[in-house]
């Protein structure tokens, strides 16, 4: 079974360890938006961790917090046992550029329109290394080639690329820094289905070849299921469930994960016709202020007084690496 990939030896130190990290935003008038609220999470070496949740769940904020694009309001993030700064200065980014890189959903706005593909891929290497121009060019070419672009693309500008090619360019730029962890924030959401598959296959082969870890942030559950070793589910700034992708998809423990998976349509008309469930009711609100109980309580069919009064902690469920934050699980 595919689980062999998911089970890492227990004594292996995680590559990245997020411990009680928070990211709050002050909205004024005494209102605090808790975009990420005391989240703890490990990413193992060579592992793909899928992070899912709906808009406003804080999944992108968490990704940016890890790489330093968002401040930390509390908690700590460690990379190979080394604590990353709470507030970044530009020197900090430069120092960690060989450890963590990110690719974005809106890759067009993440690429300078005034730089050619070659310059974009070379920039990071030029700023952090000591290679001369010719070596840099050679390396940039090799990276473009690795992601499926060619020498002909070196001197083109981002607007001359298609969406899929642009995402490849974004990946080449990130890989050129030889990161150990790649944070992918909705890397394929803006792409057509056939191109999505190209990019996902590319990420998967890079992971195997370069032994990098990937945090794959997405809302497309089918794609996340396909690519992830482990899965983390967020709701309103809180993690609600973490476990091996296989376990969580087969038998989700948290009522929100259950609702999320049940609402995912499947490309099979016979299965869809048997669909009986009533869709989950209510709307996702904003996580403003300190939570009184479970953030999901008002939409949850199993909620009782305890759920409305006490914030449920993350607890082991069945196996040790499966964690669920639910009083009822």
């Amino acid at each position: 079974m595919p689980e062999s990939l998911a089970n890492k030896p227990a004594d292996e130190k995680p590559l990245l360890s997020v411990d009680g990290a928070s990211c709050y935003f002050n909205l004024g008038q005494g209102q605090i938006l808790r975009a990420v609220d005391e989240v703890s999470l490990d990413i193992g070496s060579g592992e793909i961790l899928g992070l899912v949740g709906e808009s406003g769940s804080g999944k992108s904020t968490l990704g940016k917090l890890i790489i330093g694009l968002n401040h930390k309001s509390g908690g700590r993030v460690e990379f190979e046992g080394r604590r990353l700064p709470d507030h970044y200065r530009s020197a900090d980014f430069r120092a960690q550029s060989g450890d963590i890189q990110m690719i974005f959903q809106e890759v067009y706005s993440a690429l300078s329109p005034r730089m050619t593909a070659g310059e974009i891929v070379m920039e990071g290497m030029r700023l952090t290394g000591s290679d001369n121009g010719l070596v840099l060019r050679e390396k940039a070419l090799a990276w473009l080639d690795r992601v499926g672009l060619s020498a002909a693309h070196m001197n083109r500008y981002p607007h001359e690329f298609s969406g899929g090619q642009r995402q490849r360019l974004g990946i080449a730029r990130a890989l050129a820094m030889r990161p150990r962890l790649l944070i992918c924030d909705e890397p394929v959401s803006a792409l057509d289905v056939s191109v999505q598959a190209q990019i996902v296959n590319l990420l998967e082969s890079i992971r195997r070849e370069m032994d990098i870890s990937i945090l794959f942030i997405a809302h497309d559950l089918s794609m996340v299921r396909y690519i992830s070793d482990r899965l983390a589910v967020m709701y309103l700034g809180k993690l609600v469930e973490v476990g091996s992708a296989h376990q969580v998809f087969e038998a989700p423990a948290h009522p929100y994960t259950q609702a999320l998976l049940a609402s995912n349509p499947l490309p099979d008309p016979a299965l869809e016709r048997q669909r009986k469930h009533q869709p989950i009711q209510g709307e996702v609100l904003a996580p403003i202020g300190a939570p009184v109980g479970c953030r999901f309580a008002d939409r949850c069919p199993h909620a009782d007084e305890q759920c409305r009064q006490q914030v449920p902690p993350m607890r082991p469920y069945q196996s040790g690496d499966w964690l669920v934050a639910c009083h009822k699980a």
């Binding site: 056939s194 598959a197 998967e204 609402s263 349509p265 490309p267 099979d268 008309p269 299965l271 996702v284």
Partner: protein, 336 residues
Amino acid sequence: MAERELLVVDELRVEIPTHGGFVRAVRGVSFSMEPGKTLALVGESGCGKSVSVQAMLGLINVQGLRLAGEARFMGQDLLAMSEAQLNTVRGARIGMVFQDPLSAFNPTRTIGEQIAEGLVLHKGMAKQAALEEARRLLDECRLSEPARRVVQYPFELSGGMLQRAMIAMALACGPQLLIADEPTTALDVTTQDQILWLMQELQRSRGMSILLITHDLAVVARMADDVAVMYAGQLVERAGVDDLFSHPTHPYTRALMRATPHGEMVRGEPLASIEGSPPDLFAPPPGCGFCPRCDHAMRICEDRVPLLFTSRRGGGVSRCWMEHPDYSRARVVGDA
């Protein structure tokens, strides 16, 4: 005149003038819709699925636009109608729902006013009665606190709530046909679930037809009775939803399905991607548009556009030379 079908689109062609010449966005598309059924128009960006529908409804305002073919709605050709005639159809007998609800509403007027506008215009209702009807419609579309929503502005509602309001607006005059262009693409999966559920429920209670434009095969599986797959401005396959998913015939449809992850996929099994990209529609190829990306391409595929042949398996039609009645015989002879 006495057609059973609600909508018959016959050889629709749309050519849009740009600085670089005409884009052959839609190249001879034909399909028909039965009353009370859902037809899904599927394809990737640029395949012409939205343009077909917009052209049909006279929503492409470009000088020098070239339109050909027919789109008969309840027996009348929409393409031959004047703007005034179209205005009696759009928003009345045909309701429309778009992908981005926020940009489809006027930000300076309340939700209620905008729903009531159609009722006053098409049904001659008085303003007060129309506002009351708007409240009732919002309630029918399961929007919470409908009385309050009527006096709210679009920015005060979430994406899912706005999409419900837009459906209410589309349904206001009791249309026979609801056209939904990627209605849930911008929504989260639980909200998408609610909206799809709502559309199915409204279809059952009102008996209207739905023309659903989408790129998502899972949404197609959920909603459609019939499916038309488009590629490079042409319809490449048309079939009932069960036939299409159990026996996809056209190589593009098959490739699209293999590229869509599904539950039984084994971790590590590569997704089948479709290499290459669609053809340039400024100068469409003389043969099959998919042939440069197709594993089965033959010489004839480069030279001549295949007709819509009846699929050998399943009950649909497929624009592929491999479905030509003589194809299997030719192959058997060739193999021997």
